[in-house]
Symmetry: C2
DNA sequence: TAGATTGTTAATCGATTAACAATC
DNA sequence: TAGATTGTTAATCGATTAACAATC
């Protein structure tokens, strides 16, 4: 029912709704959400309709109701624990990030091979990767952020999967070759940057 | 000719090819590239064909030739200068990043409202945003990375556009409302994380 | 009743794959 | 000639939009 692209949209509706709610709005029209998310109003209505979310023919959608329904779809009941592997530039940014709770996630630990990185400087403990299994078992962790250098990404990912990880948000610019039961979501910042510059270049011509 | 999704693929072929070349390979088959990128071999051949890139019917594609052709497509002749706005978690990661050169980009300056952040600690200077116009003019900058907090993203982006920026890589989780001539590429790390967790959750059922 | 909105069905569009032809 | 590969055309699939019906 929910394709990968639709999932992304529904999540962006949720973000926009949280913003609108904070601003005090009680009702949202497909048109309003369209302005906030950049998705066409028809598509928004269709998405909601397909998920069994109903509005009022004249009065739009109730913000709280929408958020509830989206929570039913996405809201993992219990908070989900995650870990972070690699404390380079990106890893250091993500260990300091404070907004996991907002998405009902909880960063419980980070890992780095460099002992110098394993300080108490951060709000979560930093271990050697050898301790992954232990942490994963203790905190029921199945999802990890991978932010190690390109050259060690494959090997590290493999080790992670061997020790209980089933989902990886991968910042390394390589395709990870992993067993079929493992889900990987890739973020490649430099490719996004190049894409932007390419399309700017095209416009100039 | 090149849609937005195809652009992303072509860039990923390029990355894979650079890797293969580093490993000493001279020839690449669509099949090889498929393994490296996760894109189907047919689609790879079709992409190349549409871009006028030819292989040998039996001998695959020549790696150097492929890279040359891709460079012709994406390689901006002169190095492109970019700036970074916002030195929070993500911003600090990106100012330390060393790989811009590899994509023929050059980070020339960063900006932050907090004077405490405007130190000489980094390899590029950090200014107040007031100096953006000056820097943009001097270094012919039209593309910027935006890594400020959500609440100030819209205002900051607007100011940037008023001062010569025409392309933004946006890490703030909001849809920026900007004039039509401005291109925005959004990266929303938490949405990607939630998407991953959602699809993991689905598998469990 | 008129107007504004949601909801749905059919049409369109674009991206991907299947099937096969070409050729080294 | 047989086999492996590229290259192309047609078929399929999925996502989006257009048109319109329903209703508050």
């Amino acid at each position: 029912m929910t394709g990968i692209v639709q999932t992304k949209r529904l999540l962006s509706y949720r973000m926009a709704l949280l913003r609108l709610k904070k601003m005090g709005l009680k009702k949202a029209y497909s048109h309003t959400l369209s302005e906030e998310t950049g998705v066409s109003a028809v598509l928004i209505r269709k998405d909601f309709s397909q998920c069994g979310i109903r509005g009022k023919r004249r009065g739009g959608y109730d913000v709280d109701y929408l958020l509830d329904e989206l929570k039913k779809l996405f809201g993992r009941e219990k908070e989900q624990n995650v870990v972070l592997v690699g404390l380079g530039n990106i890893g250091s940014a993500l260990i300091k990030y404070e907004g996991y709770r907002q998405s009902n996630m909880n960063l419980v630990a980070a890992f780095d091979i460099d002992p110098a990185k394993r300080t108490r400087r951060y709000s979560v403990p930093v271990y050697s990767l050898e301790n992954l299994r232990e942490v994963a078992d203790a905190f029921d962790v199945s999802v990890a952020i991978l932010a190690v250098p390109e050259f060690s990404a494959q090997e590290t990912a493999h080790y992670m999967v061997e020790n209980g990880i089933r989902g990886i948000l991968n910042f390394a610019p390589v395709l990870l070759k992993l067993p079929g039961h493992v889900l990987v979501n890739n973020i490649n910042i430099m490719v996004e940057m190049e894409r932007l510059m390419y399309h700017i270049g095209i416009r100039e011509k």
